[in-house]
Symmetry: C2
C-alpha cells in the first residue's frame, strides 16, 4: 500500500491493454509500475504514450519501468495484459511483484483463462478476471492508440475471498480503481457470466476479422456478414444459457449496434494474425465450444469458424 492508502498497482505485460489502463490509473494518481520485456529500453527512456481519440494525447514520462519483476515494489493489484497464450509463463513474475494478499486481475478475453494460472499461484493471492470493452492497439514501443470505449467488467475467480460478500468487496475495490480513473467499470457477481458476455463480441469480430481480412466497418456494411455476426452472437448467447449464464435480452443487439457506430476497428486477433503471433483460439473458441458441448449444446457456426481459424493459424507458422 502506498502512502495515502491508495493501493500500488503493477502492470505485467505492458501491451496495448496493460499500457492503456496503467497510464489512465497513473494519471489518476495511483502509483503504477510497469514490467516490460522487449520494450523496456524504449519505455524507460521515453515513457508511455496513449494517443486517445477520447482523452487526447496522454503521456506518462517517466514511467516506472522494470525489466525484471524482482526489482518491482510489492504491488497490491497486478494487472495482467499479456496474451492468454502465455499465462503459465507469467506466474513467476506475478508472484515476485505481488504484495501479501495481492489481487491479480487478468485483463484477457475468452473462457477459463484463470484455470491455467491458478495452480501456479500461492493460495494467498486473489485471482480476478477483467473484461475490457475497448478499442485499443499498440502502435510501437510504449505507444498505444486508443480509438474508443474503455469499460471494464470485473469478476472474482478464486483465492482467499471465501464468501460472496468478501469477494464482491474485492471486486468493487477493483472497479473503484478504474472508476477513479474516469473509466466505466462494473463489479460482476459471476465471472463466468462476464466472460460469456464478452464472448458475444469477441467470437464474431475477432474471428471474422482474420477469416475475411476485414475490420468492423466493412463487416457492418454488408448484409451477409451482418447476418453471420448476428448468428454467431445468437450462438454465444445460447451457449452461455446452456452453461447457466443468462445473457440479458437485447445485449447482443446492443453490442451489434454499438459496433456499427464505433470508428473502424481491427480486433486484436487480426493484429495477432498479421504479426504472425499465435491466435487466442483456445480461450475464445475451443473452450466455449467444449463447455457448451458438455452442457449438451452444439454451436455449429462457431465451430465452423473455429475450424477455419485453426487451419489458418496452424498454416501460417
Amino acid at each position: 500500500m502506498q502512502a495515502g492508502g491508495k493501493p500500488r498497482i503493477g502492470v505485467i505485460g505492458t501491451g496495448a491493454i496493460g499500457g492503456f489502463y496503467g497510464v489512465m490509473l497513473a494519471r489518476a494518481g495511483y502509483d503504477v509500475h510497469f514490467l516490460l520485456r522487449s520494450e523496456f529500453a524504449a519505455v524507460a527512456e521515453a515513457g508511455l504514450r496513449v494517443d486517445s481519440a477520447v482523452h487526447g494525447a496522454l503521456t506518462l514520462q517517466p514511467a516506472q519501468a522494470y525489466r525484471s519483476a524482482a526489482d518491482m515494489p510489492p504491488c497490491d493489484w497486478l494487472l495482467v495484459g499479456a496474451k492468454t497464450t502465455s499465462n503459465a509463463d507469467l506466474a513467476p513474475a506475478i508472484i515476485q511483484a505481488a504484495a501479501d494478499g495481492a489481487k491479480v486481475l487478468l485483463l484477457q478475453n475468452g473462457l477459463d483463462v484463470e484455470e491455467e494460472l491458478r495452480p501456479l499461484l500461492p493460495d494467498s493471492l486473489h485471482l480476478l478476471g477483467g473484461l475490457c470493452l475497448i478499442c485499443v492497439n499498440r502502435l510501437g514501443p510504449g505507444v498505444i492508440a486508443h480509438q474508443a470505449l474503455g469499460a471494464i467488467n470485473i469478476g472474482y475467480h478464486s483465492g482467499p475471498g471465501t464468501d460472496q460478500a468478501a469477494r464482491m468487496a474485492i471486486v468493487e475495490e477493483g472497479a473503484g480503481l478504474f472508476r477513479a480513473a474516469g473509466l466505466d467499470s462494473q463489479a460482476m457477481p459471476d465471472l463466468g457470466q462476464a466472460r460469456w458476455q464478452k464472448l458475444v463480441w469477441n467470437v464474431p469480430y475477432n474471428g471474422l476479422s482474420v477469416l475475411l481480412g476485414a475490420s468492423t466497418t466493412p463487416l457492418m456494411a454488408d448484409d451477409h456478414s451482418r447476418g453471420l455476426i448476428q448468428a454467431l452472437m445468437a450462438e454465444v448467447v445460447r451457449g452461455a444459457q446452456a452453461c447457466g449464464h443468462e445473457i440479458a435480452p437485447g445485449y447482443a443487439e446492443y453490442l451489434f449496434t454499438m459496433t456499427g457506430k464505433m470508428p473502424d476497428y481491427w480486433p486484436s486477433m487480426y493484429h495477432d494474425y498479421s504479426q504472425r503471433r499465435p491466435l487466442e483460439l483456445e480461450a475464445i473458441y475451443a473452450r466455449p465450444l467444449a463447455r457448451a458441448r458438455a452442457a449438451g449444446c452444439e454451436l455449429p457456426k462457431i465451430e465452423a469458424l473455429y475450424q477455419a481459424l485453426a487451419f489458418i493459424d496452424r498454416r501460417k507458422h
Copy 2:
C-alpha cells in the same frame, strides 16, 4: 445427325469442362463443333489441346470452331460448359445451334441451374443436367489441364420426354456418348438427386478453397479443415434427405477419401475468385440452403460458409 448415325455435338462455352469433353468426344469419332468467344481466334488457328495426366497430351487440330452459333450446323446434343452465372445469356446461341428435338446438357454444378434457362428454350428441346466429377482447369486459350477423374452423371430435367422410360432412354443415350469416349458415365433417374450428390463435394471444397486460400492437399492434411469438410458434407446429406433425395450411405466418406488421394487440386471457384469472376454462390450455396430451409432443415455450417463467401465475393468487385 451426321453420316453413320452418330449424333452431332455442339459445345457452347468452350472452357475447361466443355473443351475437355468436346475433345474426348471428337477423338472418339463424334462430329464436334465448338462455340467460342474471346478464344475463337486462338482455337481456330491452333486447335484445342488437353494436357491430361490420365490420357496424355491430346490435340484436336483443326477444331471446328465458331464465333457465332448462327454458323454452326444443327447439333443433336449441345454441351453447355459455361458458368451458371451466364445461363440466361446463352439461350439464343443454344437455340441457333440446336437441331430439331436436340438435347441440351448443362455441365454445371449446383442446384436448379436448369430453371433459369428452361423458360427461354422452345418446348421441343430436351434439357438435361450433367454432373462432372473431374479435376480440370484452363491453362490458356484453347489449352486445358486435366489432372484426374472425368466421370459424368446425367439426369433429365424437362422437355418432350414425357414419361420416365422416354426420359431415361435419352439420358442413357447421353451417357453412351461419354462411355464411347472412354469416360465413366451414369444415367441418373433423378436429376435433383444427382445435383445434391455432387454438392457433397462442391459445397466444402469450392468454398473452403476461396475462404482459406487452400487447395485440396493442405485442406486434407489438417485435422480442423478435415473436420469442417466432413461436417459440411454431412449437412449436404441432411439437406438432400430433407428434400427427398437419399444420398447413399458411405457416399460422402467415399468422396472425402477419394479427394485425399487425388493430386493436389484447386477447385473451379478458386480460379473464379483469383480471376475476379463472380462466384457461383447462388447455384452451389444459396439455392440448396433455400430448398433445405423450405423443407424445414437448417444447415448452419453451410450457411456460415455462404455468408462468408458472399461477403468476399461482393467485396472483391
